[in-house]
C-alpha cells in the first residue's frame, strides 16, 4: 500500500500521435506534444559538423541532453514540438509506437524525460505515476514499463490503467463500447463492468495520420503542393506584401519532410473536413462549393470534394484506393469501415450484453472529434444493427473532454483519496518484482 496522498500524482497518456501529460486532479493535461522524436546518429554528426554550413544547433537543448546521450551512446534525440519544429541535417523522425506496441524503448524514455523534466518540471522520484495503456498491451510490455518506471525513474508508486476503461468511466459507464479513433489507429473495445473484453477488441490502422496522408496525396494529385515550413523563407517586402524564397536543404531526411508536411496537412484537415451525411459519391460531390485555406507560404488553395471524401475513408476504406499514391494500401489491411468494426466487435460479445453495448457507444480520440462523425456513425449503425437494438452514440459535447477523455479519466482516478490504496508501490515492486503489476493493475 502506498500512503502518500499529499503529493499529487502525474498522469501520462502516450498515444500514437500525441503524448498528454499533467497533474492528477486537473481538468486538462498541462503538456501535449507529438509522440515522435527526432533522432540524429551521433557518429555522423560529429564528422560533419565542421564542414556543415547549416544553421547552428540550439545550444540550450544541446547541452541539456548531451550527458544523458553519452550514457545511451549512439544517437541523439529531440523531443517536443519546438525541438521538432527546427530542421536539422540528417535528423530522422521516428515513432516509438508501431501498431499500438512500443518498439523503441529508448525513444519512449526520451519522451518521458521530456514530459517530466521539461514540460512539468518535476522529479519523478517524488510523484506516483498513472500511465494509460492501450487495451491490447501485452504482459511483457507492462512488466517492462513497470521495470523502467521503478528502476530508472525511481517512482514511489505506479498504476497502469486501460485507455478504454478510463474513457468509459469518465462518461459514467462501467459497461460501454469505446470507439477510440486516434492518430495512428482506430480501436473498438467493449468494456464490461470495468473489464476490457480482449477477445472482442477490433482495431484498424486507419487513424488521423492516414487521413492526413490521403489528403496530402489527393491535393498533390490536383497540383496543390504543401511546402513544409522549413523549405522557404517569407519576407514582408511592403506592408501586407510578402515575398517567398525557396531554400534548399539537401541533407533533410525524407521522414522529416513528411513530418513537417503532416503538420500543415493535419491543420487543413481539422479546419475544413467533415464527415458526409451519406456515403461519399464522386459525381454527387463534384459540384460542391469549395472552401479556401491559406497555406503557410501565402498560397491559397481551394478544397472541394476532398472535404467530404477524406473523412469518408473511415467509413469506407476502399475509397482510399481512388487516391493516387495510396492505391496499394488495400493489399496490406483488410477493408473494414467503422460501422462494420463496431458490429463485428459487439457480435463477438456475450448475447446478454449486446443490447447494452449498442446503447452506449462512446467516441474518444482526436479523429473522433471530426465534425458530423457522431451523427454519421449513428445513422450507419441504425441501418445495420438488429431491429430490437437501441443505438446510441455518445460523445462529450466539450471538445477538450472528447479529445482527452482518457487523460481526464486518469486524472480524476489518481486524485481520489480512496485510490491511494490501489497504487502498485515501490515496496511491493521490491518484494514481488515486476510481474506483480498483473495483480495490482489487472
Amino acid at each position: 500500500m502506498y500512503g502518500g496522498d499529499e503529493v499529487s500524482a502525474i498522469v501520462l497518456d502516450l498515444g500514437s500521435h500525441t503524448c498528454k501529460a499533467g497533474y492528477a486532479g486537473e481538468d486538462a493535461p498541462k503538456a501535449v506534444f507529438p509522440s515522435v522524436v527526432g533522432s540524429i546518429d551521433q557518429m555522423e554528426v560529429e564528422t560533419e559538423t565542421e564542414n556543415n554550413s547549416g544553421p547552428a544547433v540550439d545550444p540550450k537543448s544541446n547541452s541539456k541532453s548531451l550527458d544523458s546521450d553519452k550514457a545511451k551512446g549512439k544517437r541523439k534525440l529531440y523531443v517536443g514540438s519546438q525541438a521538432l519544429g527546427y530542421r536539422r541535417d540528417h535528423m530522422e523522425v521516428v515513432s516509438p509506437i508501431k501498431d499500438g506496441v512500443i518498439v523503441d524503448w529508448e525513444a519512449v524514455e526520451g519522451i518521458w524525460d521530456h514530459a517530466f523534466r521539461e514540460c512539468l518540471l518535476v522529479d519523478p522520484k517524488e510523484h506516483p505515476m498513472l500511465l494509460a495503456e492501450p487495451s491490447s498491451n501485452t504482459q511483457q510490455q507492462r512488466e517492462r514499463t513497470a521495470e523502467l518506471m521503478f528502476e530508472k525513474y525511481k517512482v514511489p508508486a505506479l498504476f497502469l490503467a486501460k485507455n478504454a476503461v478510463l474513457t468509459s468511466f469518465a462518461s459514467g459507464r462501467a459497461t460501454s463500447l469505446v470507439v477510440d479513433s486516434g492518430g495512428g489507429s482506430t480501436t473498438v473495445a467493449p468494456v464490461h463492468d470495468g473489464y476490457v473484453l480482449q477477445k472482442a477488441v477490433a482495431s484498424s490502422p486507419i487513424g488521423g495520420e492516414f487521413l492526413t496522408d490521403c489528403l496530402t496525396k489527393s491535393l498533390e494529385s490536383k497540383g496543390m503542393m504543401i511546402k513544409p515550413r522549413y523549405s522557404f523563407k517569407r519576407k514582408e517586402t511592403r506592408p501586407g506584401e510578402f515575398q517567398v524564397v525557396d531554400v534548399d536543404f539537401p541533407n533533410t531526411t525524407e521522414s522529416y519532410k513528411l513530418y513537417s508536411q503532416r503538420v500543415v496537412a493535419s491543420d487543413i484537415k481539422e479546419c475544413v473536413c467533415r464527415a458526409p451525411d451519406t456515403p461519399y459519391d464522386e459525381s454527387a460531390y463534384s459540384n460542391i462549393p469549395t472552401t479556401s485555406y491559406e497555406l503557410p507560404d501565402g498560397q491559397t488553395i481551394e478544397i472541394g470534394a476532398d472535404r467530404f471524401k477524406i473523412p469518408d475513408i473511415l467509413f469506407n476504406p476502399s475509397l482510399a484506393q481512388t487516391i493516387p499514391g495510396v492505391e496499394n494500401f488495400a493489399e496490406i489491411v483488410p477493408l473494414r469501415g467503422l460501422p462494420q468494426m463496431v458490429i463485428e466487435s459487439i457480435n463477438k460479445c456475450d448475447v446478454d450484453i449486446r443490447r447494452e453495448l449498442f446503447s452506449s457507444i462512446l467516441l474518444a480520440g482526436g479523429t473522433a472529434s471530426m465534425q458530423q462523425l457522431k451523427e454519421r456513425l449513428e445513422k450507419d449503425l441504425l441501418e445495420e444493427s438488429p431491429q430490437a437494438a437501441r443505438v446510441k452514440v455518445l460523445a462529450s459535447g466539450n471538445s477538450t473532454e472528447r479529445r482527452f477523455s482518457v487523460w481526464i479519466g486518469g486524472s480524476i482516478l489518481a486524485s481520489l483519496g480512496s485510490f491511494q490504496q490501489m497504487w502498485f508501490s515501490k515496496a511491493e515492486y521490491e518484494e514481488h518484482g515486476a510481474s506483480y503489476v498483473q495483480r495490482k493493475c489487472p
Binding site: 469518465a170 481526464i408 479519466g409 480524476i412
Partner: protein, 137 residues
Amino acid sequence: MANAASGMAVHDDCKLKFMELKAKRNYRFILFKIEQQQIVIDKLGEPNESYDDFTSSFPADECRYAVFDFDFTTEENCQKSKIFFIAWSPDSSKVRMKMVYASSKDRFKRELDGISFELQATDPSEMSLDIVKGRVF
C-alpha cells in the same frame, strides 16, 4: 478486481439495509450515494411506495446507485420478486462524479449479494418501467 477501480469503501449500513430489503422486505428501494470517500445510504423507500416514487427520487444532475425490489406475477400466476441494481449517471452530471461512481460500482455491487438484474441509466427513459418489465419477463 476490475482495472482502474477506485478503491472506495462501503459503509456497513449499506449492507445491513440491503439485507433488510432482501430478507425482511422492510423497504421497497434504497438509494446510495458517495460521500467523503465512502458509499452511504441516501434514501430509503417504504414498502408501499411505487416505481414512480422510486424514479422521482433521483436527482437530475447527480449520480446515484440504487436497488429496487420489483414485485410481479408470472404467467403461471406465481408471485415473485427480483432485485434490480441501477447505476444512475445523468449526462449533465460532472465528469468527476461520473468517474467516481463508475469506477466504484463493480466493488460495491459485489458487496450486495442477491441482485438479479442490473441497469445503467443516463436518462429516465433508460430505467422506465417497460425496460424493467422487459428484463424480468
